[in-house]
């Protein structure tokens, strides 16, 4: 079978599709929907994975939390010096932070306390302390907020300052001194940076303690040994490594992927019903047409070419429409509904933009799972009919 394009045959194939408009449109719609759902889910998953991986890279190598009677409690600052004595640890930073629930919007903000004389444990904080004058923040009771926080506060008429309610039930007025944009949207979009002193006040914490401690090591291969030493010295402390967090994120992501599996199953089911219907045979009208075409001089190859053009036109156009619509849905509309399925976690609720991430191998996989299968499902029954005696199928 040669594949020199025959435009009359293509024209004939398109007319055949238009003649069975209802059926053709239904198949086109289901196929486009299948591609759209799968492509959207995969694009969202890719974008979130990209975001998470970037976030993970910025996380501390070891985070130490203290537990008393199974409950997390603040860590005494005198342990900082003692930890520095452990060989292999290059830096120890006490962190003062927590979640602040903002009732009018029903969201959690991440509040992080910083100190002008302290080395920052993350690249985001280092950048922020370089850009904003932390001493001035301390002097003027100011704070720096992420774009997501700014948007929510503005919606609630807080444009210049915000009144925190402290653990003692008092107002703590803090001026909005700056807004930061970040590429690490998941990590910092809901972030509020405050001088440590203010954070102690808001959370009602003892100033000789920290929420947790982050540790930098000289050699990452030493992390398990260092963790073991810390556990021996401080049995009430739990060490969380970057790998632990990675596994934890992965588990959440895998759990969310269950929704994807459910969506995939529904779409795949609809698609395979179409495939089953196609492979189970042609209608008597289609068979008769094949008989007529053979009688007037078409060979089986010509008939298969025509069916190939038909199925190729339909499946490729459905594929392209599905991909274009999903690109628009995910990146222009920011994937309403599906996005919430994957990110339904209140701390992440302040909006962030899904970073553009299209994996070519994903597109190829989707193409291979749809177009060739549909073409094969069209060609097989047509081939069966074309090898029958024309006389038989015309009767």
């Amino acid at each position: 079978m040669s594949f020199k394009p025959n435009f009359l045959l293509l024209d004939y194939a398109i007319r055949s599709l238009m003649r069975r408009f209802g059926k053709s449109f239904f198949i086109f719609f289901i196929l486009s929907l299948l591609i759209f759902v799968l492509a959207s889910v995969l694009m969202i998953a890719d974008a979130i994975k990209l975001e998470l991986n970037t976030t993970l890279k910025a996380l501390p190598q070891i985070t130490l939390q203290r537990f008393s009677a199974g409950k997390q409690s603040d860590v005494p600052l005198d342990r900082v010096e003692a930890l520095l004595d452990i060989e292999g640890i290059s830096a120890v930073t006490p962190r003062v932070w927590g979640y602040y629930y903002f009732k009018p919007a029903g969201v959690n903000f991440s509040i992080v306390g910083i100190d002008a004389y302290e080395e920052q444990y993350s690249a985001t904080l280092s950048t922020l302390t370089q850009r904003f004058d932390v001493k001035l923040l301390e002097k003027e009771n100011g704070m720096i907020i992420g774009e997501g926080v700014k948007k929510i506060l503005e919606e609630n008429y807080y444009t210049e300052f915000f009144n925190f309610i402290t653990s003692e039930g008092k107002w703590q007025r803090v001026r909005i001194a700056g807004v930061f944009h970040s590429d690490l949207a998941l990590e910092s979009n809901d972030l509020i940076i405050l001088p440590k002193k203010l954070v102690y006040g808001i959370f009602g914490m003892d100033e000789s303690k920290a929420t947790d401690i982050v540790i930098k090591v000289t050699n990452v291969k030493e992390i398990p040994t260092i963790v073991q030493k810390i556990n021996e010295r401080y049995p009430d402390m739990r060490a969380i490594t970057q790998d632990d967090i990675r596994v934890s994120y992965q588990n959440i992501f895998d759990y969310k992927s269950g929704f994807f599996l459910a969506l995939f199953s529904i779409c795949a089911f609809a698609f395979f019903i179409i495939i089953y219907d196609k492979t189970s045979g042609l209608s008597s009208e289609e068979k008769k047409e094949i008989g007529i075409l053979k009688a007037v001089g078409w060979s089986s190859d010509d008939i298969l070419k025509e069916k190939f053009y038909e199925s190729f036109t339909l499946s490729v156009s459905a594929f392209l429409v599905g991909i274009v619509v999903s690109l628009f849905y995910v990146y222009a509309l920011q994937a309403p509904l599906l996005r919430n399925l994957f990110m339904g976690y209140s701390a992440l609720k302040p909006s962030f933009v899904l970073p553009f991430s299209v994996d070519a191998s994903m597109l190829v996989l989707l193409f291979l799972l749809s177009v060739p299968i549909y073409i094969a499902a069209t060609l097989i029954p047509a081939w069966r009919a074309s090898i029958l005696d024309a006389d038989e199928v015309m009767r």
């Binding site: 435009f7 009359l8 008989g291 075409l293 009688a295 007037v296 060979s299 006389d391």
Partner: protein
């Protein structure tokens, strides 16, 4: 020239073998007009399908213009049919969603020629049969007579040397039947070989018919 040598065709009907044609030997000369007569189920249509290469004989040989059609690969027999044989069916067998012009062009599509060449060819033959003004109309909107002329134009668009007609008047009224006979006579005069399978007695006495062959139960009896 068409030659059949001891051609047999059997079909399976359930578990039993049915003999549609038994030891048919026949020779039809170039330009000859032969009528195959016989009742329904006698094997006339099967014989036409075998000559057109639409089915293979169970045994025996069939040659068309010196080529043994029963041994040709499917693609070649299709090409032979497209270039040498025109088929006129009892029920016209037009493709209903296409226009009259498109129906006439259908046999030429695999040739992959420029559209204007195909249209010129098709319109020329349609003009001969007085239906060129209906070229753009869908065939299911045409009258029975017009549909029949489209079917004839389709059979002739490749300028075939052989016309096979299977019960061509079975669905026609008297006027249309006479029109068809005139068309067939014109073809005969132009040197086309005609093989007409029919049980319409009108054909048995036509002056341009050279021979009438009767088939009964798959065998030639006259």
């Amino acid at each position: 020239m068409i030659t059949l040598h001891e051609v047999c065709k059997q079909f399976m009907q359930g578990d039993e073998e049915a003999h549609a044609l038994k030891n048919i030997s026949l020779e039809i000369k170039k330009g000859e007009c032969v009528v195959l007569k016989g009742s329904s189920g006698s094997g006339k249509s099967t014989l036409l399908s075998l000559i057109a290469g639409l089915m293979q004989p169970s045994s025996g040989k069939i040659s068309v213009d010196g080529k043994e059609i029963s041994k040709l690969p499917e693609a070649f027999s299709a090409q032979l049919r497209r270039k040498n044989i025109g088929f006129i069916f009892q029920k016209f067998h037009l493709i209903s969603h296409l226009s009259a012009l498109e129906n006439v062009i259908v046999p030429l599509i695999p040739e992959n020629l420029p559209v204007h060449v195909l249209e010129e060819k098709a319109k020329a033959i349609m003009a001969q049969y007085g239906i060129v003004h209906k070229a753009k109309m869908r065939v299911n909107r045409l009258s029975g007579g017009e549909q029949q002329r489209v079917a004839i134009a389709r059979a002739l668009v490749n300028n075939p040397s052989i016309i096979l007609a299977d019960e061509p008047t079975a669905n026609l009224d008297e006027t249309l039947t006479r029109e068809l006979i005139v068309s067939l006579e014109v073809l005969k005069q132009s040197g086309v070989t005609l093989l007409i399978a029919t049980h319409d007695p009108l054909f048995f006495e036509l002056p341009f018919v050279d021979r009438v062959i009767e088939i009964k139960n798959g065998e030639i009896i006259l």
